[in-house]
């Protein structure tokens, strides 16, 4: 089920971006609509343009051409307003390793402008949501990989963003932590948050996403609900088969 333009929270059309010195565009007239309240998966091989797309949506990069709107506001013109409305969970553990989990959350909550009176409660809620209440005083560099990932996620939702952008949030962690994080993402979504999500784990995407776009060479090559995509390709049993069928088996990098 594709979203109509009216309830799109992210609307991208004709987006192109070529990095200086590169002969190939990272994004080549990309079109994408992400509907409100969805978990939208962005899949693609390495170098397909997933991170570039997310970087433009979260106002880090300026597009060469094309139109990008987030909650009806244009990127990059309305960057300041958009930054209040989005949360980013980068692939790296973007936290200060020598600070505790609570100190990290407190710092980012202040930066995000979370009201002083509500700050402590909001931090407590986030810690509870990611299951780190008992570990709040632990320094990041003394946390396990799973705890770091969850702390990384907690920072992304501190200011209760309408849209959460996740760049491979479950990479490099054990099955238990991954399961917990996916549960949390579902919970955020149930509370009304829209999630734009990139991953290399096809099964994970199939399990959690309402809608998926597979991109390659900066273009969308397939889009739809996971079950629709599978149903539309009788030769494929699952999303991974479709992915390999569409993007090929040759190594990209």
């Amino acid at each position: 089920m594709s979203a109509s333009v009216q309830d799109s929270v992210i609307s991208i059309s004709g987006l192109t971006k070529t990095y200086p010195g590169s002969s190939h565009p990272a994004l080549d007239h990309l079109n994408l609509e992400v509907a409100r309240g969805r978990i939208f998966g962005l899949l693609g091989p390495n170098g397909a343009g997933k991170t570039t797309t997310i970087s433009i949506v979260c106002t880090l990069l300026r597009p060469d051409t094309g139109r990008v709107e987030v909650l009806g506001q244009s990127v990059p013109a309305a960057a300041a307003a958009i930054r209040h409305a989005i949360g980013l969970v980068p692939q790296e553990i973007a936290l200060y390793p020598t600070l505790t989990i609570r100190e990290n959350l407190t710092y980012f909550a202040r930066v995000l402008g979370v009201d002083k009176d509500l700050r402590a409660a909001r931090i407590a809620t986030c810690l509870d949501l990611v299951g780190l209440t008992d570990m709040a005083q632990r320094r990041i560099d003394r946390c396990s990989g799973g705890m770091k990932r969850r702390a990384n996620l907690a920072v992304g939702i501190l200011h209760e963003p309408q849209i959460l952008l996740l760049d491979e949030p479950t990479v490099g962690i054990d099955a238990q932590s991954r399961n917990l994080i996916l549960e949390q993402l579902r919970e955020f979504n149930r509370q009304g948050m829209t999630l734009l999500y990139t991953t290399h784990y096809m099964r994970e995407a199939e399990e959690i996403c309402d809608e998926i776009a597979i991109i390659d060479a900066g273009r969308v090559i397939a889009q739809g609900a996971p079950h629709q995509l599978i149903a539309g390709n009788p030769a494929c049993e699952n999303l991974e088969d479709i992915f390999l069928a569409l993007t090929g088996k040759a190594l990209r990098e």
Binding site: C58, T59, L60, R83, L88, P90, L95, Y96, V111, G113
Partner: protein
């Protein structure tokens, strides 16, 4: 702009960075202590106090004694003539200087007074005859430690030279006066001979006062360019405390540029840039936090100069005295902002360290910290 939030975060990060704190606070203190004490020895050895020099007097006459008295009177040299009550001989003096126990040894050879008197008389005789003066001068010897710097050697040598010239002048004058009286007497007797009055007139030249050469006709007055309230000689403390305090401020490149590089590498900066935060606020937080650190560092260095160094035997640091360019109100903004710049430019810790060391080297050389101000290009 969340400036206070960023400042608080930077200070919190720094408080967890033990290596950074060591570099910021312990390293400059060590530099101040070690270099001040080293330079203090140099100051003491090269002018702040008198130089102890060996004096080997092998002369039987009065010249050696007079020279020793004259040199001691200059206040620049303190002559040592005996080791444990035993008169220093030539070989022991040479060895003591070579070992570095003393920097100089002045040797007056045997019969030097007689040699000098003979040379002076010979010169006076030639002068009265109108002949070209050709004499065999006496030879004083000055041994010096090879490690002694040229300028210092020249200063001591000049001091000895002055004493020697004075005594040589006296010798010449005495010889000249003696011969002049004889010459005049002979000439007068010759003139009076036809009248049978030879020998009736006795020529007596006035006796010169003992100290006639000690009273200079021209005096060179040495004055410090500093106002009266300042001491004439700089001290190692006044030199080093401000200089190494400034140098220490540049150490902040390690934690400061380090946090910036780390923020870039672990995507914390990326995350921050997707938040409603301004770059000015972000950088401002770092600048103000590290400015505070610089001020703390500065206070620590002043305390070291004021209270710790005097315990180790150096003069006390006086905040009111001139302290070289480093101490003249150099603002800690400069190192903080420049280190911030290295953090922005450098892509890795290695780069930041290389930039920093090069930059510090440049600052030390061009800023008058390690090189005297008069050598600096303006």
């Amino acid at each position: 702009m969340h400036l206070l939030t960023h400042i608080r975060k930077e200070l919190l990060l720094l408080s967890r960075d033990r290596a950074g704190l060591l570099v910021l606070f312990v390293m400059p203190v060590l530099l101040v202590l070690v270099l001040t004490l080293v330079q203090d020895n140099v100051f003491r050895a090269t002018g702040e106090t008198t130089t102890r020099s060996l004096f080997v007097n092998l002369d039987e006459g009065s010249f050696g004694v007079d020279l020793a008295r004259g040199l001691n009177a200059t206040g620049m040299l303190e002559l040592v003539e005996a080791f444990a009550g035993e008169k220093v001989d030539l070989e022991r003096a040479r060895q003591a200087v070579f070992r570095g126990d003393y920097q100089f040894a002045i040797v007056v050879p045997a019969d030097f007074s007689a040699t000098l008197a003979a040379a002076a008389e010979s010169a006076a005789r030639a002068t009265l005859r109108g002949d070209t003066v050709e004499i065999n001068p006496g030879e004083l010897r000055l041994f010096f430690d090879p490690a002694v710097r040229g300028v210092y050697r020249t200063a001591v040598s000049s001091s000895v030279q002055r004493g020697v010239i004075s005594l040589a002048m006296a010798s010449r004058s005495t010889a000249l006066m003696g011969l002049l009286r004889v010459d005049l007497q002979e000439s007068i007797d010759e003139q009076l001979q036809p009248y049978g009055a030879a020998g009736l007139v006795r020529i007596e030249l006035p006796v010169l006062a003992d100290n006639w050469l000690e009273q200079p006709l021209i005096e060179l007055r040495e004055e410090s360019a500093a106002p009266e309230k300042f001491p004439t000689m700089p001290t190692s403390v006044q030199q080093n405390v401000p200089a190494w305090t400034l140098f220490g401020m540049f150490f902040i490149v390690i934690p400061l540029a380090g946090t910036m590089i780390r923020e870039r590498q672990d995507s914390t900066l990326t995350r921050l840039l997707t938040m409603p935060v301004s770059i000015v606020g972000l950088l401002g937080g770092k600048v103000f936090a590290y400015l505070l650190i610089c001020l703390l560092q500065f206070a620590l260095m002043l305390l070291v100069g004021r209270y710790l160094l005097p315990l180790l035997g150096t003069p006390q640091f006086d905040v009111g005295l001139p302290s070289g360019p480093a101490g003249r109100g150099r603002s800690p903004w400069r190192p903080v902002v420049s280190d911030c710049w290295w953090g922005v430019v450098a892509r890795s810790f290695d780069q930041a360290a290389i930039f920093w060391s090069g930059f510090c080297g440049h600052c030390r050389c061009s800023g008058g910290v390690m090189v005297p101000v008069y050598r600096c290009r303006r």
